[in-house]
């Protein structure tokens, strides 16, 4: 997650020539290291870098079966189409909205949960709650969406039953068929699945806060809430900032699975994300070029955001990410 930071360690070699010599000599002595790593790196390049070649499809009217170089080149046609296409702008809006909702809800709930759990004094209780809380993280979205669909079901879903017993609603609501609830449902599903997992990092940061800070605050007459506000929260601030900035890079990663699995024809205008767009236009309808263009757009945005975030992090004096 956070620290991919490197502390460069200068070794020997003063003059460039002497360095080159020692480079070759060092390489010779490292045959085993090279044999152990280079094939794996080649594998990584094959699966992660080679496909970038396929980006050229976005500038063609790609038709399967025709040799690659004989495809018709059309320039930025598909990008132009994309940005004037109501369907694409719609999935773009949904993607950004859902990822922002997930991000804000995710951060707030995880921090709140960590702060409250940190106040629990009985060790076994704290442990048990934490164990239970990150259990859903390990379940697939298939299972989680199944659970969500069950809970929201009109026929005996627990949410409808509870809300009716509490007198908040009169009759069962078809939650999954209400377009305007969809973003919220996705957000809450994410919280349910990830709140405990996301809190791990904050709990770890809290555990490393110097206890004497709490003692000093106590001597100064701080109550529980003042200690949370002035000791605990500032203690986890650096990690919150790093994660927040890093998350900006995933702004177009609203996910695919939840929306694909929970969405239906009624809520389609609110549920579809860029990933679903790519799948639909690209692989299912066969407009490979448009699908590729949408994929490129996504990657370009995330790379830009990551570098911007990295710069911001540097300005703020936080640890760099890359």
């Amino acid at each position: 997650m956070a620290g991919v930071t490197e502390l460069p360690k200068r070794e020997g070699g003063a003059s460039p020539a002497g360095r080159r010599m020692s480079f070759v000599r060092r390489m010779r002595g490292q045959t085993q290291l090279i044999l152990m790593s280079v094939p794996i790196v080649a594998y990584v390049i094959l699966f992660s870098y080679i496909p970038i070649w396929g980006w050229m499809m976005a500038f063609q009217d790609y038709k399967p079966g025709v040799p690659f170089m004989e495809q018709k080149w059309v320039g930025p046609k598909h990008f132009r189409f994309m940005f004037s296409d109501a369907a694409f702008l719609n999935v773009l809006r949904n993607t950004v909205a859902m990822s922002l909702i997930n991000m804000v809800l995710g951060f707030l709930t995880a921090i709140a949960f960590a702060v409250l759990l940190n106040e629990v004094r009985i060790r076994w209780f704290k442990r048990t709650i934490q164990t239970i809380s990150y259990l859903p993280h390990f379940l697939s979205w298939i299972i989680v969406t199944g659970i969500v669909a069950n809970a929201l079901s009109v026929e005996g879903g627990i949410v409808n039953i509870l809300l009716m017993k509490l007198g908040i609603i009169r009759e069962p609501v078809m939650w999954l068929n209400e377009p305007h609830y969809f973003w919220g449902i996705v957000g809450v599903s994410h919280v349910w699945k990830e709140v405990g997992w996301n809190a791990i990092i904050y709990l770890a940061a809290m555990a490393s806060i110097d206890p004497s800070l709490y003692e000093a605050a106590e001597i100064d007459g701080a109550n529980r809430y003042q200690k949370m506000r002035y000791v605990t929260l500032p203690g986890i601030k650096p990690i919150v900032v790093i994660l927040l900035i890093m998350n900006l890079g995933w702004i177009l990663e609203a996910g695919f699975e939840v929306q694909y699995l929970l969405g239906n024809g009624v809520v389609i205008d609110w549920s579809q994300t860029i990933d679903i767009f790519v799948l639909k236009y690209g692989l299912q309808i066969g407009n490979y070029s448009l699908g590729t263009a949408a994929g490129i757009f996504k990657t370009v945005v995330s790379i830009t955001m990551i570098f911007a975030a990295n710069t911001i992090a540097k300005r703020l004096g936080e640890e760099r990410l890359i």
């Binding site: 490197e6 790593s37 496909p51 629990v120 692989l283 994929g295």
Partner: protein
């Protein structure tokens, strides 16, 4: 009044806090217990509603249907096979790569780290990737579950960071004893990395076990390559449109116990079958992964 406040406040706070934590536990656990109850309840009775934490009409028909159905039985073993095989290979290759970049003297340490780490931040996109898989002739083959995605940058960094914290003297003394890097890696470093390896193994295995998108994209036309999660996915989408044909699809014996098995009840049973392996394994690995994640993922 003012004097009693300081004594009262902690009690009120801890009561409310405990209640909040218990509520969270209930909200997390209830859906499982409910699904468990439904999976052991006769399907035709579940339709009447009112099953919460305990089955009303006990029945093993749902599980019978799951395991009698050749489809699910086969999918279960495909899931097991891909999880075991990919986890072993991936763990070995990832830690080997991590070992090389943990060696400070290694000349290609920096470029390799950069090449691998960059993959965390971009991908070529679904369509170019699909064509790659197709060109490699992996479509509709079991190997499509194993070969792509063996190396994850995040896992590599987690392992590398752990390895860097091992005392340098260990490796030095192995070298002095004449061990090459491969032997040092295999016999000295790997055994010492148990906690972080357990963590990463859990990550890989869970990812494999839960994966359905690769089946959907690359192997959906081959029934014998279907996985448990993918079967569950198909069932989920069919029950969400309230189709009853799904029961006929999976219910082993439609003539005999006609309504003992319904889409809802069989889905509950598959959900349990799909989540039990994870629920069984993870409490044991928990002590490792919290520790491993703190050491590896973050360095402050």
């Amino acid at each position: 009044m003012r004097k009693r406040m300081p004594q009262l406040e902690p009690i009120v706070f801890h009561t409310l806090n405990t209640a909040a934590m218990l509520l969270l536990a209930v909200v997390t656990l209830y859906p499982f217990l409910n699904t468990l109850a439904v999976s052991f309840n006769a399907g035709n009775d579940t339709i009447r509603g009112g099953i919460y934490l305990w089955p009303r009409v006990w029945s093993l028909q749902n599980y019978k249907a799951v395991f009698v159905s050749g489809t699910i039985y086969n999918a279960f073993w495909i899931s097991v096979a891909r999880t075991v095989i990919a986890t072993l290979i991936s763990l070995f290759l990832t830690s080997m790569l991590a070992y090389t970049v943990s060696r400070r003297e290694y000349v290609f340490r920096k470029p390799i780290t950069i090449i691998v780490v960059l993959t965390m931040y971009f991908n070529a996109g679904l369509i170019p990737y699909y064509f790659l898989i197709k060109d490699l002739h992996l479509l509709n083959k079991f190997l499509v579950y194993i070969i792509p995605g063996l190396i994850s940058a995040f896992n590599m960094i987690v392992i590398r960071t752990y390895m860097q914290q091992l005392p340098d003297g260990l490796i030095e003394s192995a070298k002095i004893d004449g061990a090459g890097d491969f032997r040092t890696f295999l016999y000295i470093v790997l055994p010492l990395c148990q906690p972080v390896l357990a963590t990463v193994a859990l990550f890989i295995a869970v990812g494999q076990w839960n994966s359905w998108f690769d089946t959907f994209l690359f192997a959906s036309s081959k029934q014998h390559l279907s996985t448990l999660q993918y079967e569950l996915m198909k069932l989920l989408s069919s029950t969400m449109v309230q189709s009853t044909s799904a029961a006929a699809m999976y219910g082993a014996d439609p003539s005999a116990r006609l309504n003992q098995v319904t889409p809802v009840s069989i889905r509950a049973a598959i959900t349990i079958v799909a989540s039990v392996p994870i629920l069984v394994v993870y409490p044991f690995l928990q002590k490792y992964f919290v520790h491993g994640l703190q050491l590896g993922g973050m360095k402050d």
